[in-house]
Amino acid sequence: MSILVNNETRLAVQGITGREGAFHAEQMIAYGTKVVAGVTPGKGGGWAVGHVPIFDTVREAVEATGANTSIIYVPAPFAADAMLEATDANIALIVCITEGIPTLDMVRVRAYLDGKARLIGPNCPGAITPSEAKVGIMPGHIHTRGPVGIVSRSGTLTYEVVHALSMRGIGQSTAVGIGGDPIIGTTFVDVLEMFENDPETQQVVMIGEIGGTDEEKAAEFIASQMTKPVTAFIAGQTAPPGKRMGHAGAIISGGKGTAADKIAALENAGVRVAHHPGEIAEMVAELA
């Protein structure tokens, strides 16, 4: 088992003819992901990255290929439209890689998607179930299959942790990047619940950062609902208040969203919190 993406994933790539979309479609195919369709309005009928049929609309792609998941590489001004289109075409899982989407667009998209489709991201690296399917932009080769579920708001920091785990011979069930924006489709709590219910996952690594209160909500969930051990790291312990640290969501505002608050909440929930990412693999190994 695993969560979100697996051998059954039939992927449509929205924005497959763009530079990013084409490059990563190729990478995902090379990893073994079933990329069944590409979508670029105005380019339907053609072929992308060799043998992937292009459609003008997501609906056509779903009807012709049975796509059940979509990944979005569409530029920020058009990304909200792409997410809504995928929702209306009955795509069950939408992964939005795009960074820089206006926040109010996401407010509307999230309200519309509610109960219709699951969205991961935006501004995320995607999800990977090692040796089954990679739906994202992460380097596939650093992942190995195993018992550790990973959920993170970051991209390269997640790769860092995955790499360290794999080097120690500890594999991953699924690694999910939920995204660095203030408004995202899938939260820590959603993914923690999936890992708790996934028989293959034996323990979870959670990588949070400053801004918002999702880590505090995760701490509540862990304390009340989770039986599996969780190891965490919170990035931004040295970040000053009021400054956006790269990710649109990584900002301490009005004294809220500090790393210290999040670490305290997690530790109170029985979560072991690493001082720095270099410690995580060792802490996980102790429980393996």
Partner: protein, 394 residues
């Protein structure tokens, strides 16, 4: 992006909200001329992008044009929380009976716009939230419906407004919501929203934050960006598509990815150093971006050492290494630099860097310890000339 008070109020006015008919002056003489034109007592207000202007002496009442000139002379050039006042807003003074608060923000956990109102206006809303949170009334807005009139009425009633002022308040609340959404704001605030002695309402102060991600569709707002919001380095970084935040430590950091960049700052602190900046150089760490980033990092004279932390991922590390060396060509080599590269072809990448006499590291902890030691050695040796030996040691 933050807007100045005068900019926010001009925008509020365009959406039909009642605002004072004031104007901006950059010299005491201009302030005097404005006061003469307005013909009555005026308020002279420092235009800087921080709160607490009143407490700092940046807001003064002037009864005559002479006084307006005099107080403008005192306020212009004043230093408020490290910002120099370059402009003042001259507003006709209002005859205030009561001060209310009306504001809206995007509530990230609800994923909705939340409208807040309070009978306790004129003070920082954070203070009200801390001392008497029950006096802040909140309404969440369904994004598909927008703020409705009944919600405006409910807000007005719950902050105790008399019935005759409810329609005017509701009209302002709906206009502010319209303004918020149409401008892609992340915050819009009227504080105070004054009830005047004649019973009418007026937005005496205004504050707006605009979502940077949405500026592409608001060129007129993007043009309002004030130079004082960011340092020269932060501006250069933004123009190069880099995320950069200046801090006050000694160790410059260049990292790909925001989360990893924050974690790199944290681990430097953990090993006894202090980060000089946050910098996300973006995917692939391309030579031109690395060069711009390095220029920005080294322009901070506090920087005593630089740590590159690049997780290559799909990008090949040998390419990244060549990019770094290319970027370093023609750069002043005033501080030691430690490079940590991981990912595809990392062994080749590290070899290329060692050949060029760069310090390399394999793990994040190793890189952090090396750069902290290098910065301390440079601080001890005192000057840049003394660090040649550090760079040449593999």
């Amino acid at each position: 992006m933050k807007l100045q008070e005068y900019q926010s109020k001009r925008i509020f006015g365009q959406y039909g909200m009642p605002v004072p008919q004031g104007d901006v002056a950059t010299t005491p003489a201009e302030a005097r001329a404005l006061a003469e034109r307005m013909g009555a007592p005026v308020v002279v207000k420092a235009q800087v992008l921080v709160g607490g202007r009143g407490k700092a002496g940046g807001i003064k009442l002037a009864k005559t044009p002479d006084e307006a000139e005099e107080v403008a002379g005192r306020i212009l050039g004043m230093n408020i929380k490290d910002l120099t006042v370059k402009k003042v807003l001259v507003d006709p003074a209002a005859d205030i009976a009561k001060e209310l608060y009306l504001g809206m923000v995007i509530d990230r956990s609800r994923g909705q716009v939340v409208v807040m109102a309070s009978s306790e206006g004129g003070v920082e809303i954070e203070e009200v939230a801390a001392s008497s949170p029950e006096k802040i009334i909140q309404v969440a807005v369904d994004p598909c419906l927008g703020l409705k009139e009944y919600q405006g009425r409910e807000l007005a009633m719950s902050i105790g407004l008399p019935r005759e002022q409810v329609p005017a308040f509701t009209k302002i609340a709906l206009a502010l919501y319209d303004c918020f959404v149409s401008s892609d704001a992340s915050l819009a605030e009227i504080n105070p929203l004054a009830v005047l002695r004649n019973g009418s309402l007026k937005a005496l102060d205004g504050k707006m934050l605009i979502d940077d991600n949405a500026l592409f569709r608001h060129p007129e707002l993007a043009a309002m960006r004030d130079d004082e919001e960011e340092t020269a380095e932060e501006r250069e970084a933004r123009e190069h598509g880099l995320s950069y935040v200046q801090l006050d430590g000694q160790i410059g950091c260049m990292v790909n990815g925001a989360g990893l960049a924050m974690a790199t700052m944290d681990i430097i602190k953990f090993y006894g150093g202090a980060p000089a900046n946050f910098l996300d150089v973006g995917g692939g760490a391309k030579a031109d971006k690395v060069a711009a980033a390095l220029r920005i990092i080294l322009s901070d004279s506090n920087v005593k050492a630089v740590l590159f932390n690049i997780f290559g991922g799909i990008t090949r590390c040998d390419e990244v290494a060549r990019g770094i060396l290319q970027a370093l060509e023609g750069m002043p080599k005033r501080v030691p630099m430690v490079v940590r590269l991981v990912g595809t072809n990392d062994v080749e990448g590290q070899a290329i860097l060692r050949e060029a006499n760069m310090l390399t590291a394999t793990t994040l902890a190793d890189g952090a310890q090396k750069v902290v030691a290098a910065a301390k050695a440079l601080a001890r040796d005192g000057d840049a000339e003394g660090v040649g030996h550090l760079r040449s040691k593999p």
